[in-house]
């Protein structure tokens, strides 16, 4: 394990009162690696994502980004450190053009009056969607005119654009149909080719096998195991999730 992997979690624990939502969680994700986080409802997957993205503070343990221990006050602090999250409910603004969504909260401005630089935002958006092969009619199209898959593609492109190497995805295809899911998975794999570290929460084990390199199983806050997907049978994985395999 290199010293400067994009994300290392060491002994992360989160207590809510007397309840341990996460117990001593360890994980390191390398650049260009996709790690899937699986587990039943209430296993602590979302809590873990919220800890990494700064929405929760861990009760103990350490988050290390690119070799540097960090301590996030809130979500915008985490974002300032280059941690980006793709949510299942998209977190996009429907009535704005694609490029404004791409730059939401970080709009580019120009000139002494600091007016919005729409041309440059549209241009950079075009470059990014081309690179990630997210097919949209135009960066100036209104977001509500795009399909669910295209929108999730935009959400991922946005995260990619602003992330410094680490992208978290919370059920990125939960709201999508089969064809759109396939398209979004392609986009995720393209992130990997670009050398991003991706942690993806998924309920869909087929999807986990299609895109992930390793899988982490959580059950009631406990880290049951971390396996390379090449070494683990689906039955065993299901057993780890449900508790049939200890």
């Amino acid at each position: 394990m290199s010293q400067s992997s994009p994300l290392a979690l060491r002994g992360i624990t989160k207590q809510f009162g007397a309840v341990a939502a996460i117990e001593r969680f360890d994980l390191e994700i390398e650049a260009g690696e996709i790690v899937a986080l699986v587990g039943d409802n209430g296993a602590g997957k979302s809590t873990l994502v919220k800890i990494i993205s700064g929405l929760y503070q861990p009760s103990s343990g350490e988050i290390v980004l690119n070799g540097k221990p960090v301590n996030f006050r809130d979500a915008s602090d985490a974002r300032a450190h280059g941690v980006e999250v793709v949510y299942q409910d998209l977190a996009l603004v429907d009535q704005q053009p694609v490029y404004m969504n791409m730059f939401l909260g970080r709009e580019l401005v120009k000139g002494p009056l600091r007016t919005l630089d729409r041309a440059r935002m549209a241009q950079e958006t075009q470059a990014l969607v081309t690179e990630l092969d997210v097919r949209i009619p135009s960066p100036r199209a209104q977001l509500s005119d795009l399909s669910g898959g295209q929108r999730q593609g935009i959400a991922i492109a946005r995260a990619t654009h602003w992330a410094s190497g680490l992208v978290l995805m919370d059920e990125p295809t939960a709201a999508l149909g089969v064809a759109e899911t396939a398209k979004v998975e392609e986009t995720i794999l393209r992130l990997k080719e670009r050398g991003a570290a991706v942690l993806v929460v998924s309920h869909n084990l087929e999807q986990v096998y299609r895109i992930a390199d390793r899988v982490v199983v959580l059950r009631r806050g406990k880290q049951i195991g971390t396996r390379s997907l090449a070494d683990v049978e689906k039955n065993e994985l299901v057993g780890m999730i449900t508790g049939l395999v200890q």
């Binding site: 979500a75 996009l92 603004v93 009535q95 909260g105 709009e107 600091r114 007016t115």
Partner: protein, 318 residues
């Protein structure tokens, strides 16, 4: 060919309804009231009559675009106008008087905004309450007496003045509309206003300070209402507790007809100007046609109903 057709279909016609309506009503009155309606002095008069409504409408565009509402603007007009007139009476410094008026509006907006963002009450309830409260304040301030405005500079600047032959109120209208348009369309703040109105959750996760944006739009609304009050007191050369009392509906009608969504996420400053001028033109035409005040109110109510129906229907079909 199909793409051109599709593009035509993709245009949201409701966004332009106000301009069609404007043209239609203009032509109608021009034909039926030809001898007086089309004179320059009458058309200028329409803009001057509309000036306070237009100024308030610009502030209201920001509030509605954020998904909030400010019902207290009408009573803010009276309070700010009275404060301005009183300060002018005692200091005789127009700048101080106007500053005090605007400050009054900002403070009212701040209070509204704090109740919405910190106490987390719906803006409808907060501003309904402050509306009533301010009506009381306006009556209390001078014991129902009107305050004359006699300062020449003040009256010139906020009412009777002209620059290159054009009424100062037309200039004020142009200035406020331009600044409002610039901020909403061209500035990051405007983008944040629309984002908050469209999806507060999305705005939050992208690091937009949602509460600060909400606070700001109420202060903008308070300030534009106060400026409207100042313009009234300049034009009428006096302030009275009744100023602005029926303006809130006119402003909302102008803004909604102008294409700003009642549910947030969409704002049209130039549309609000067109909406305000449309309402004023209708008023003007109805007066020229000899309708009395009651009849005018009925017609205005019908127009507001049609406007709101169009606004909500467009929302459903989306």
């Amino acid at each position: 060919m199909t793409s051109a057709l599709d593009r035509l279909r993709a245009v949201n016609w409701r966004d332009y309804v106000v301009y069609f309506a404007f043209a239609l009503v203009f032509v109608y009155f021009a034909i039926t009231q030809s001898e007086y309606f089309l004179t320059t002095s009458n058309l200028t008069n329409v803009i001057i009559q509309a000036a306070p409504i237009t100024v308030m409408a610009v502030g209201t565009v920001f509030v509605l675009a954020t998904g909030e509402i400010d019902l207290s603007i009408g009573s803010t007009v009276a309070v700010a106008a009275l404060v301005t007139a009183k300060v002018l009476e005692s200091t005789e410094v127009w700048l101080l008087a106007a500053g005090a008026g605007i400050l009054t509006g900002l403070v009212i907006g701040l209070v509204n905004g704090l109740f919405v963002t910190v106490v987390r009450l719906p803006s409808f309830l907060v501003t309904l309450a402050t509306m009533g409260l301010l009506v009381g304040v306006a009556r209390q301030l001078t014991d129902l007496k009107s305050v004359p405005v006699l300062d020449d500079s003040f009256v010139w600047l906020f009412g009777g003045g002209e620059i290159i032959g054009i009424s100062i109120l037309v200039w004020w209208t142009a200035l406020v509309v331009f600044v409002g348009w610039h901020v909403l369309r061209q500035k990051r703040f405007g983008a944040h206003v629309l984002a908050v109105g469209n999806s507060p959750a999305a705005a939050q996760v992208t690091g937009i300070r949602v509460a600060r944006v909400r606070l700001a739009v109420f202060m903008i609304s308070g300030a534009t209402a106060a400026l409207a009050g100042i313009l009234y007191s300049g034009r009428l050369q006096g302030a009275r507790y009744t100023l602005g009392e029926s303006d809130m509906m006119s402003v909302l009608a102008a803004v909604i007809v102008g294409g700003t969504a009642l549910v947030g996420g969409k704002g049209a400053v130039v549309g609000a100007l067109a909406g305000s001028l449309l309402m004023a033109m209708i008023n003007n035409g109805l007066i020229l046609a000899g309708l009395n005040v009651s009849q005018q109110m009925i017609v205005r109510g019908v127009i507001i109903l049609i406007a709101v129906s169009l606004s909500l229907r467009a929302k459903k079909s989306n």
